[in-house]
């Protein structure tokens, strides 16, 4: 584990989550340096592949959020040029980043996820999809949440209380992606469970750039709860706004609820084929004990205030150790 490696930290890029990614990347870089690795920091752009080919790092540490970095694009490129990388592979990335696909897969597998419908913008123009909207409303009821299928930040997440608000909510969401979800709104507590592969074995013995280390079984970290700071929040979007939320870790839950959340997270992690690390967001619906899986993030934030580092810390895994484990996932595929 302690063998010095040349690690390219991929961060930034043109996605809407660029700023978080830069901070995740910087935070990981610091830890990698402390761990004794040689760090090559890359703000991804048109020079990414030439730079990687020229530098030939032993592994790429992916700290990219949003488009390209989280949807499998960069992962597939790295496979093409033969550079091991951290986290999930292209297929799992595609399954998780496309929230609609992820929800369909969960529904088929019997994993509880809030009822939803999926819509593509071209179908509005070409297939008369507008005429299906009333049916969707009828089936899901109001209020509804509309979200771009592949947008990780708060942008484009819309709330519609009634029919008249739905068209502009949908168009707002379509601004970020031509695929959107219309989802039943549930009130409740926002929970997140991060799942981490166990410590790899034999990784120091595998030559740089080679896979082969044994992957250990994944396990769930303690549940984190995101608590809105302002209870009287004005709309759905604001709960995603920065500074409006505080985090409690471990979340104050009944033991069996916490255990169920962790089990669900593990189930989803395996179902979608995640590797190395992922964060599963859930909701504990108010007025009952229904747990719903909302979405899965294959490149969880690594900033100083992100959920994954907090959860790891609560499990006694410091940030350096966490970073080391994520890095190790590059060689356990």
């Amino acid at each position: 584990m302690n063998e010095e490696k040349k690690v390219a930290v991929l961060k930034g890029g043109p996605s809407l989550e660029r700023q978080v990614s830069l901070r995740s990347g910087a935070h990981a870089q610091e830890a990698l340096v402390r761990l004794g690795h040689e760090v090559l920091a890359l703000d991804v752009g048109p020079e990414l592949v030439p730079e990687l080919r020229a530098q030939q790092p032993d592994a790429a540490f992916i700290a990219l959020h949003g488009r390209d970095g989280e949807d499998g694009t960069v992962q597939a490129l790295l496979e093409a040029i033969g550079i091991p990388y951290t986290g999930s592979g292209p297929a799992a990335c595609a399954r998780c980043t496309d929230k609609a696909l992820a929800k369909y897969l969960m529904r088929e597998a019997g994993v509880p996820t809030l009822d939803f419908h999926f819509l593509r913008e071209p179908s509005v123009r070409q297939l008369g999809a507008a005429h299906a909207v009333a049916d969707i409303e009828g089936r899901l009821g109001f209020p509804l949440v509309v979200k771009p299928a592949s947008q990780g930040s708060a942008l484009g997440v819309k709330f519609a209380r009634a029919s008249d608000q739905l068209p502009s909510a949908m168009v707002g969401a379509f601004s970020y992606d031509d695929k959107i979800l219309i989802e039943r709104y549930a009130k409740g507590r926002d929970l997140a469970v991060s799942v981490l592969d166990g410590p790899a074995t034999d990784s120091t013995r595998s030559p740089p750039g080679r896979t082969g280390a044994r992957r250990a079984a994944p396990f769930a970290l303690p549940v984190v709860e995101a608590v809105p700071r302002e209870e009287d929040f004005y709309d759905y979007e604001s709960r995603y706004e920065i500074g409006m939320t505080t985090f409690v870790c471990p979340a104050e839950l009944e033991a069996d609820t916490a255990a169920r959340a962790q089990e669900l997270a593990m189930e989803v992690y395996t179902l979608l084929g995640c590797h190395g690390v992922a964060r599963v967001d859930l909701m504990l619906e108010a007025g009952g004990d229904d747990l719903w899986v909302l979405e899965i993030n294959v490149v969880p934030g690594l900033t100083e205030t992100s959920l994954l580092p907090q959860a790891a810390d609560a499990a006694g895994i410091g940030f350096d150790e966490l970073t080391a484990r994520v890095l190790a996932s590059a060689w356990t595929r």
């Binding site: 870089q29 703000d43 993030n297």
Partner: protein, 513 residues
Amino acid sequence: MDRSSSGAGEGRGARPTAHELARYEALFASRTRSMKSSAMREMMALTERPDVISLAGGLPDTTTFEPELYAKLMSHVAAESTARALQYGPTDGMTATVDCIVEVMAAEGTLIDPSEVIVTTGGQQVIDLVCKALIDPGDVIVAEAPTYPGAVPTFGAYQAEVAQIEMDSDGMPIEELEIVLDRLQARGRRPKFIYTIPNFQNPGGVTMSLARRRELLVLEDNPYGLLRYEGEPLPTLYSLDAEVLGSGGGADLVIYLGTFSKILSPGLRLGWAVAPRPVLEKLNLGKQGADLCSSPVTQLFVAAYFNERDPGGGRRWRAYLEQLKVLYSRRRDVMLEALADHFADDARWTKPQGGLFIWATLDERIDTTDLLALARESQGVAFVPGRAAYVDGRSGSSSMRLNFAGVPEEDIREGMRRIGKVVREQLSLIGTLSGSVPSSRNLARGAAEREPGTPPGGEAAQVDRGVAGGGLRAGSPGAGQDAGPGGDDSGLADVVALPRRASEGSARRRRDR
């Protein structure tokens, strides 16, 4: 590529490129929590890309400044004032610079006492120092809506409670202001000051009589009173207040904020405040703590520039100002034309008599933050979404601020064509989804004609009119349906001054994923 930390040699044993922030998290002051960023502001930071036509900046066009003159002035400062330029200066500013300020303000018809001036590091510092001197956490500031996006993070940093008052075509409606003040009074609250960016229609006299009656301080942010392209200059609030007092002295309720950024250069980072002496003293103390003094190098540069004469003996700075006015007013006309060409019937926008910006308001069903994401991604064009000018970050959602001054004509035309295209696409989509035609003017008709089974989007959207915020209040004079394309919303023209990159204004901090 991030060259600063790439390449061999970096890494092992090297000092980490950044401090580990987690170690400091517990140390941060509670005020940093209100220095909040937002997804919208972070997205605005992404508009600073070479391939994007940005109408988002608050920039004047500095390419118009003669390189030879710049070189000459810098050489002059270097040769003639070496020691002074390289030394600390007085906190309240160098005499030679204050003389220039007196001259600029006189050009605006405002006479001031040089001893009531403090030279600052940009106009932005005045906002900061005034808050520093006056605002305790929870104190109230009254501001216009929309307001200057760059003031929003400053108010937040001082944990002020901001009451924004939606403007009509005359500026901040006094009756609305009265209502807000009464409401505050009922809660035992009294605003520490009113922050206003006087625009070309604002009946300053009314504002000042109210301020006087209520004994309220006013911060008058006037970055471009001299950039007037047409119409009669209006007196500054400062001069109105001083006039009432008579005796040729300064105002006692107005803090005036001025800047060289728009008439000369934002790169110099020089602004000023003129304030009643007790306030001035606090600003001075605040500035000592902030930066001791503004740069003597640029202060001397300004002084040298103001000494320049034309071949005809006229003031060089006046000639340059005239040159800028010709250029900017032409660009404004180009943008107004482009707006008429590319924006739908139901959009409305200001027709400014001066300044750098046009404030445009679209169909209320369009959220300009989303529009920006799409326009930037699919068309490579950017603007400031209206929400940036609202402290709550939510109102103004169907408005946008467009800069016409810092962008060449062909970019204005092309940029507006691109924005117009995206707007039309969105409206058409909304129309299809709601079964109405894509025009809010025809909403009732659209709703009536919609096919059975499709949602009645039109009707309620019409009901919502004016509630979504964003520019003019429905029902106010000159607002809403009265203001058609290019309608006379000129009052709003200069409410928002942003002399900096979008990214600079945003206090980026926590972003939890």
